[in-house]
Symmetry: D2
Subunit: 304 residues, 4 copies
Amino acid sequence: MKDKIMEIIEKNKGLVREGFVADYIPALSKANPNNIGVSIVDLNGNIYNVGDYNEKFTIQSISKVLSLILALLDHGEEKVFNKVGYEPTDEPFNTIYKLDFNWNKPSNPMINSGAIVTTSLIKGNGDEKINRILDLIKVMTGNPNVSIDEEVYLSEKETGNRNRAMAYLLKSKGILSGDVEEILDTYFKQCSIQVTSFDLAKIGLFIAKGCPLETKGLIDNARIAAIVTAIMFTSGMYNFSGEYAVNVGIPSKSGVGGGILGVVPGNYGIGIYGPALDRYGNSSVGYGIIRDLSQHLKLNILSR
Amino acid sequence: MKDKIMEIIEKNKGLVREGFVADYIPALSKANPNNIGVSIVDLNGNIYNVGDYNEKFTIQSISKVLSLILALLDHGEEKVFNKVGYEPTDEPFNTIYKLDFNWNKPSNPMINSGAIVTTSLIKGNGDEKINRILDLIKVMTGNPNVSIDEEVYLSEKETGNRNRAMAYLLKSKGILSGDVEEILDTYFKQCSIQVTSFDLAKIGLFIAKGCPLETKGLIDNARIAAIVTAIMFTSGMYNFSGEYAVNVGIPSKSGVGGGILGVVPGNYGIGIYGPALDRYGNSSVGYGIIRDLSQHLKLNILSR
Amino acid sequence: MKDKIMEIIEKNKGLVREGFVADYIPALSKANPNNIGVSIVDLNGNIYNVGDYNEKFTIQSISKVLSLILALLDHGEEKVFNKVGYEPTDEPFNTIYKLDFNWNKPSNPMINSGAIVTTSLIKGNGDEKINRILDLIKVMTGNPNVSIDEEVYLSEKETGNRNRAMAYLLKSKGILSGDVEEILDTYFKQCSIQVTSFDLAKIGLFIAKGCPLETKGLIDNARIAAIVTAIMFTSGMYNFSGEYAVNVGIPSKSGVGGGILGVVPGNYGIGIYGPALDRYGNSSVGYGIIRDLSQHLKLNILSR
Amino acid sequence: MKDKIMEIIEKNKGLVREGFVADYIPALSKANPNNIGVSIVDLNGNIYNVGDYNEKFTIQSISKVLSLILALLDHGEEKVFNKVGYEPTDEPFNTIYKLDFNWNKPSNPMINSGAIVTTSLIKGNGDEKINRILDLIKVMTGNPNVSIDEEVYLSEKETGNRNRAMAYLLKSKGILSGDVEEILDTYFKQCSIQVTSFDLAKIGLFIAKGCPLETKGLIDNARIAAIVTAIMFTSGMYNFSGEYAVNVGIPSKSGVGGGILGVVPGNYGIGIYGPALDRYGNSSVGYGIIRDLSQHLKLNILSR
């Protein structure tokens, strides 16, 4: 298996040159585009870690999966989806304009405006919210050292005026409750959590197992996993999700830090790292690798 | 099995009252909202037909699946997706406005503008195009009597000015080649093809088997099936596709005639009929039935 | 006066090089960008014709003024403005997207969609509509030879798919009554009427005098002139109308044939020709000339 | 003259019942809808004050005229209009969506986003900006007691999330320089300045005289007056400006406090107060009164 993964990495590593490391904040631009980490874990406890699987990077948009899980736990499905939709969109992750039309809520929890809503729904005062996100990752990964990259967080906070615009618009429409800057602060922090591809694989496996959380929420663990997995499938890869579904067929979520989280329900968790991004914001080499893995391991849920 | 289906129909038939039969043309409004037909066929040759499975209705948007298949056969994946996207949209099926922005092409082949594009790509002169669609359905269903409802066709043609607007806009942008009225004529005809829930189930099974067409196209049959199935999953149920993916998890396509086509890859073809529609344009009772079928038969591809 | 006009032409003729002759149809692209015609006529019967004032060009969007006048005559103010707005827009003349939102009607009669509406409101069967437009120009100009450029008309008709898209969308929304292709045919013909800068000046003077039509319509002549003049002021120069109002201050309407029609209420009619267009679709040299004329002759209605 | 004004008030006062006092903040909703104040001042020093001309109300959007004047003084025309357009829009004053498209700047300085830009361009630190606006009004009106309604200011600040969204979006696009909350603070304060209809009339006369400011700016006083007057004409009455131009023909600016400022270049300044608003946000009775005044006094600049 490791050999096969290495072969797939080798085959795809040229894709690094087709992407560009995110540079909207200086801290991100320092990433080495040639780093490639691939981690696969399965239900039987097998672990396959290849390449730069120990390299840390910020989780960025993949954190949207975590805030959706916590929002669902805290408020249940109906209340959450009163404030954010289930529907995939053909717009980029940072789109604003539709919020100015008749639409009452963001299209789905995987675009920024939708994730700001789910973050606002996480219960807790002050640092409690971000600590609950960190704790969730610790439970999922068994890694007690997960922490925030302070430099990235401060940069996100300083430059996050587009997210701020969304949040104030959502506030003006009554979709966001609570203090906007506090919600954004949690949002910028959750995007700045440092993980490795191995961490992502373990997060993926946790969801693949049906989110076996010990804490009782307002919704079954299995239902949380079902919702999250379906929304990752239709909306997890930005406005490339449709093409990705055709070519990969694995519920996934990417982040501009270069990570891809994959969930093969009942089987595998997958984590990939490759910081050079394509024009949608997905890891260019990561896409190539997971496409080949899907084919080789027959992971496409539409053709299993 | 039939008993279970009948039980599920019984449980859901109240949903009829939550929907309304399409009435934008008189011919459609004559449908009996209380008709419910459910057909399931599987790879082993089992056939389960319950209720009004012999009732004929027009295929409407479900024909978008067929024109996509023929466009792919005739031109291959690259050329087709140069003119229409793979991406699901949060807009209704008859949206126009984005075509006026920078977008170069319709978001996907399951909205009207995208289907007008795939229909334009079907090779053939005059009636050849529509005859090829009819022939494809005959091959898929083994039903040699599939034909067009002339009354519906003429009404669609007469009232189809919104589709006409889309088509001329696509023409002005160079996305549509050929005579616009001729393309629209085929489009209106394909929407007016009469089918039964049993026909739909057989179409679904054909795709579930990997589209075993005898004619050689520019693309593998299995790849056609993979593309079609994935796009049905992300975009097949109008701007309800995301919520449907969460609650049903079966690649499906609906039409305002009241039909739902379901494809369970490698297993089942499903056809449901119930002409009362919800506000998205999907059969209200059909949605309830397929949701329960998915749960009962464990058909959700995300949790099989 | 003529000397002053010649001086102003001389000063501005370099602007020709900043524009481009319209080339979306071959017939227009043949225009000589160096042609410059300026005509001014006043209430006292003085006529100032300078340069290429005898050069014929197609009236294009300036015809929107004429179809608005006839629509008002035939239906009165209320009915016309039930179907088209009074409001200037920051969108280009060929915008479509807003018609797909909640808006019930085109923003104003000076953009294409609005002019298609006013053309549809001109009474008459078959060629009557276009003949009434031609007759109106003949009355206004005293020129019995005004006619249609057949080559331009046929090209407009052949390539006018964007206008066709608008018209069918308006039809689908119930804003347009009658046969769409027939309305478009009149529209393409009215755009293809040949005029000179002298003709335009006389049209301008006619409006400046309060539209002294002999035929009785459903609305006073003076009210027609007031409406037309105000709408020309706020919307006549495409999405440059606001800047033009600041710098020129004369109710005007331009066309992509290179003409500018100016109306100084109670004083002057102005016609300018210069086929090289700026990025908004206005004559580049024409704009420079009328700006200087406005300053020199103190024609700015905001500072008279 | 006063008798005529009283007659016009009498004729129009029923329009009060067609409007509604702004209630988005409690402080505004306390206004008495039956208050009607009309003030006209002319170049010869005549003053006509009728009705509730001593009633104070907040200037609201009419302050956009003042921030435009100061921005022009401080930076000159080119720099200001690099950051905000001259073009009228058919969108409401609080529109956001276009800022999310390719547009680089707000359409004009009379919509909120455009006024936030001009306010940002007023030079000064901390309270200097708002003090310069107050000083300008004092110079224009000769009223040394002009001040801010603290209750309105605090309410605007608290509920102004939609304006906040615009400002952060403009900041993210590089159109807004400086601290966003500080700019918004000035903006909320300038909207909360208390004036009377008499104050407005004197402001109008000041502009009608060509803005005879003693301080030297980067632009001629006459040019400032020309720009401001033209933009008021095309964009001053929200997305009713086009219809208002047809029916009134006086450069004007309204505010949701119920005020209308009118400028008849070279002749009159007009101030009207009537807090019940129509659906565009203009004083319903104020519109009726100024329409009749325009007709009676022949103030329409298009037909003088």
